[in-house]
Symmetry: C2
Subunit: 657 residues, 2 copies
């Protein structure tokens, strides 16, 4: 026996499996502002005593704890409570439970009285119980009086028992009777509450230097401003800009990633830094920091947020290479090491040595670059290749920034092994890229969505389905043409509450640099592109329509409400997005080349439709009405005409459901 | 930045989700002797370095740790290793991982050489890497020589690079190069290795006092001995005896739980203790402790183990009530409190106050009672109502006893809320009763088995399917008669590797004390029963057959190898028990009244049967051969004739599969 533990230290009530929890409480769970947090726990003890339980939680920045009583749900044998998440930041949550000796005594007394038993001894035990209770001073008088009444042999049994069931007494004895009988779950769990935009947004990526309306000129922030009304019209919430900093000239890459560049070639924006500055400077041809501030304000006026790229690497010309050579890797010959993925060499980029001797200075400088842009109104950062920087750095940096600015959103661009992508999300990234671009068949999409909607994964991982990126032009788009772009847009925008396109997608740009490559021909990464935004064949009306639907329909603003339904045609993906009486049913033809048709199942029993009665579905993409009957419907999708349907049950006149 | 943490303390390699783990490592996982333990972990780090990983484990009672290298499984992105569990007791397991800088350097060097790049700088970096390595003194010379060769500009590049790929060098650099680069998973996980009998056994429960062959006489241990050969013939592994201790006389219960007893009524064996002794004494009419020892030895000679009941409660006449009144609850009037479940009163039993002031003496006395019987050869205890005693007591007591005697098995008799039953199993009970007796329809059985074969639950919860108990004669048996007993026997013996029957089951005893009760009429709990073990209608041949099959067929010795297959007839339960090329297919007619028939599916594609070819199934219960063809078979079960089938694929002559 561990004789050093007194009885009081041994747990009488066990609290287990508290949710939400990520990796046993090692990481915070994620929620959005306004969510209702469901806290659950398995709680039990030996014997027959009733149990009391409550959530003990602390709001961000507050010193005091608040309490919320928990209720017992017999099936599935679990204790539950809801907390309204009404402010941003890092909430703390634990569960407390105790044997509810008073409630047990009252319940037993009732049973004894109902059975006509003598309760003289029980009344004395009740009095003793009250005598030992630690109650707030305000309630002390009620409890003391009750104890005296219960023990008073001079009074009638009726009077004494009535006192036991007194509502005022019950109120005074809510919660644990003695502090040392309270068990508390460990560790304290954390829940990070982000803005809704961390979960739900339509993104648009553009290179500012390509935004000049006239060919041949380097675009500017002012040119970007001029495009904002059109982007707002298309329904985008976030406009993300690749790095806007001065671009290095040493080993600058030419068009199509050529190893040598010609004079006037603009280089890659990810080769950050030159004599004109580094991560807190602006490439002079784009404008000034003041021009950028103007852009941020103009965007806000359109309801658009500007997101910046955060790429922690330097061109050989970055000021840090001179001011802090010790922040880089040095080769045995004393030169700084450029980036490599052997045998590939990236001589225009130097990686930072995050584990260098004075790493604290480096880490703070990186963090300060974020704070600089936050001061200039940027609250969303798309982080480039975070998996090549230390996990410990991100955990510290993101937490530090969000403690100062809890409305900051970090979007992880890591395409790597799943556990590492999950790891970055767990340690603080608000949302993440996924494998979506590479998942094009029905089984690939189902597998992807099964992974992403796993309840444990949803606690920390928020997907953002970019349908293309400057690095990824999938073969499906290359070969499928305009129908493929329309289908992928519909999938991205309805399967994930956050999605995005990189500019050119709406023009169905699909020419790769060479056969078998996912790189674009004449990629904007290395040169300025000029586009006609109204070019024939553009799918802007699709974009505008689906983005409007996303804002109107709550079903498209959540991730875990997805349910795949049976489709007899594998090329027709058929799924339901649930939303409390306003479900959507989406059909997408995954084949961009052929007409596909077939029966799909319809769970009429869930929808309040009379079995056998006809019902009408409105396609929210076209406003057409379809009449169906029974548990199956027929879908025919011609990719030349439409990518799919977004059906909503048409409500009968007078049907207020 | 947490400036108090040096770089060395910040983790570069992350180890997560180590398995097996119960409740984040709070409790031990369970395995059986001879099992191969699969240890898994998610391991990742930033950047491109390769990772090395190993299991670090310690056998029970050993001081030193052993290591087992882990291998990476790309899908599902997890690190794995197997450990052979070759001794009983509590094993400790952690996972270690580190950046494998040497392997990374070698792999990169190979790529550079293949690309024809200059590697002069890389050779110097390799030399520096070796210079920093902490290697065992035996390997020091090899590593030092290699470092010199790599750095030696006087030698040819060929000679220097050859040195990098030297097998002896690779062997010397296995494992982490530097101790401080090693991450270790926390907490250390525990795995309790029990005897195989904790997982796989056929139990038989009998009241010794009912074993006299002639009516009217109180049975003895010697009478039990005489029954052992017959029980061994039936194939039982464990014979469990209700309490064998002196029975109290105060408030002794009469037949059928009458509140008053007549002279000569034997009382309930669970009213433990009299002037003749308590938990370490033997009821005189059964014999002496020496007679008990003789029984234990005789049982062992038959291959049978004797299990005792461990019921921590006392009759009012138990010696402890006089020697230690402070171990009991006292009422305000100074009397000891009898057991109650208001409004029910159990005046023949006093509960123990496990949280009394000198609880340590009480806890040790309880533990010592176990040690007493262990000294008398008992290694299996069926623990009565453990959920009414403190969880902390069991955790301490079971751990203490198993530390001394790791071959001890504890069987929890708790019929309560699922989480509390799981809780008892987690804190140390080797196996547990279940709700099996109350699950009789196909969906109840499927739900029960889904719960019990959940991977997380199987880590700690081993079911023992008693088909009846002295407390539970289910309505299904009461109404279904002999066919019901045969079906329930077949289900219990094939669904769970541990199962049992309480004597009388083989005689199909099914008369309740009254309509609507699950209590037996003339229950042995309160009186002596005399039986004719060869009474007509007995199902002993069923028992003997299924127990022999259980010993012969590995498929019946595991729990998690169960798979329910499709049956078009809900009353016919159809399931597969997998076992590495020797699967069994079991059909049970759950309807004891009607003939049921229908098609069941057969996964021929898994079985190496040519599509379209006929195949033969042998019913191991009857040795009959059935010829099937294709993915479905027809089953017809007449409850008057047979409860079901246990099919095994008949192998063709010369088929060595």
């Amino acid at each position: 026996m561990t004789s050093s533990r007194s009885s009081a230290q041994l747990p009488q009530v066990v609290i287990e499996n508290v949710s939400p929890s990520v990796d046993c409480g090692r990481y915070a769970a994620k929620r959005s502002l306004g969510d209702r947090l469901a806290v659950g726990a398995d709680i039990y003890k030996d014997g027959h005593d009733l149990i009391g339980a409550r959530v003990r939680y602390r709001k961000p920045g507050e010193r005091g704890w608040q309490f919320q009583p928990m209720r017992f749900d017999f099936n599935p044998d679990r204790w539950l409570a809801d907390i309204d998440l009404d402010c941003l930041g890092r909430w703390e949550v634990t569960v407390e439970a105790w044997p509810d000796f008073f409630a047990t005594w009252v319940a037993d007394l009732r049973k004894r009285l109902d059975a006509g038993q003598d309760v003289a001894s029980e009344l004395l035990e009740g009095a003793a119980l009250l005598g030992r209770a630690e109650v707030a001073s305000g309630a002390r008088a009620v409890v003391t009086a009750a104890a005296q009444t219960l023990a008073d042999a001079g009074r009638s049994v009726e009077e004494r028992t009535a006192c036991a069931f007194d509502a005022e007494l019950a109120a005074a004895l809510q919660g644990p009777l003695r502090r040392r009988s309270v068990a508390r779950s460990k560790p304290t769990l954390e829940v990070v509450v982000d803005r809704e935009r961390a979960r739900f947004a339509a993104w648009y990526e553009l290179f500012p230097r390509s935004q000049a309306p006239e060919p041949g000129r380097h675009g500017t922030f002012a040119d970007v401003e001029k495009r904002l009304p059109a982007l707002a019209e298309l329904g985008f919430d976030v406009v993300y800009l690749p790095p806007i900093h001065p671009i290095g000239h040493t080993h600058r890459k030419g068009p199509n990633n050529a190893r040598v560049c010609k004079p006037g070639d603009p280089g890659s924006p990810w080769a950050i830094g030159s004599e004109e500055g580094g991560h807190t400077a602006v490439h002079p041809e784009l404008g000034s920091v003041g021009d950028f501030d103007h852009l941020v304000r103009a965007a806000a006026d359109c309801g658009i947020e500007i997101a910046l790229d955060f790429a922690l690497q330097c061109s050989p010309d970055h000021p840090w290479t001179r001011e802090h050579p010790e922040w880089f890797f040095q080769r045995p010959d004393g030169t700084l090491r450029y980036a490599e993925n052997p045998p590939k060499k990236y001589e225009d980029i130097y990686p930072l040595n995050f584990w260098c001797e004075n790493r604290e200075d480096l880490w703070q400088a990186c963090r300060d670059a974020l704070l600089f842009w936050i001061d200039h109104g940027v609250k969303i950062f798309r982080v480039d290749n975070p998996h090549t920087k230390p996990l410990a750095f991100w955990e510290w940096c993101l937490r530090d920034v969000q403690a100062r600015h809890p409305d900051t959103i970090f979007f992880a661009e890591a395409f790597t092994r799943p556990k590492r992508m999950y790891g970055l999300a767990k340690l603080g990234f608000s949302q993440s890229y996924t494998y979506f671009t590479w998942k094009n068949s029905w089984w690939e999409l189902r597998e992807l969505m099964d992974d992403l909607t796993d309840e444990r994964v949803m606690e920390f991982y928020r997907p953002n389905f970019f349908a293309n990126t400057p690095d990824i032009l999938h073969e499906y788009l290359q070969r499928g043409g305009r129908p493929a772009f329309r289908a992928r847009l519909l999938l991205a925008a309805t399967l994930s509450p956050s999605y995005g396109i990189y500019s050119g997608f709406e023009l169905c740009e699909n020419v790769p640099v060479r056969e078998g490559s996912e790189e674009y021909l004449d990629s904007e990464k290395y040169q300025i592109r000029h586009r006609d935004w109204d070019a024939p064949g553009n799918i802007k009306s699709d974009v505008a329509r689906i983005n409007r639907l996303r804002r109107e329909m709550p079903a498209l603003q959540q991730l875990g409400n997805l349910e795949f339904l049976e489709s007899q045609t594998p090329e027709i993906l058929w799924y339901r997005k649930r939303s409390d009486g306003d479900d959507l049913f989406v059909a997408v033809n995954l084949d961009p080349h052929e007409v596909r048709e077939g029966l799909v199942s319809m769970p009429v029993e869930d929808l309040g439709v009379d079995v056998g009665a006809p019902y009408a579905l409105r396609d929210l993409l076209t406003d057409e009405i379809y009449e169906w009957q029974g548990g199956q419907g027929f879908v025919r999708l011609d990719p030349a005409q439409r990518p799919g349907h977004v059906f909503r049950l048409e409500k009968a006149a007078g049907d207020s459901r």
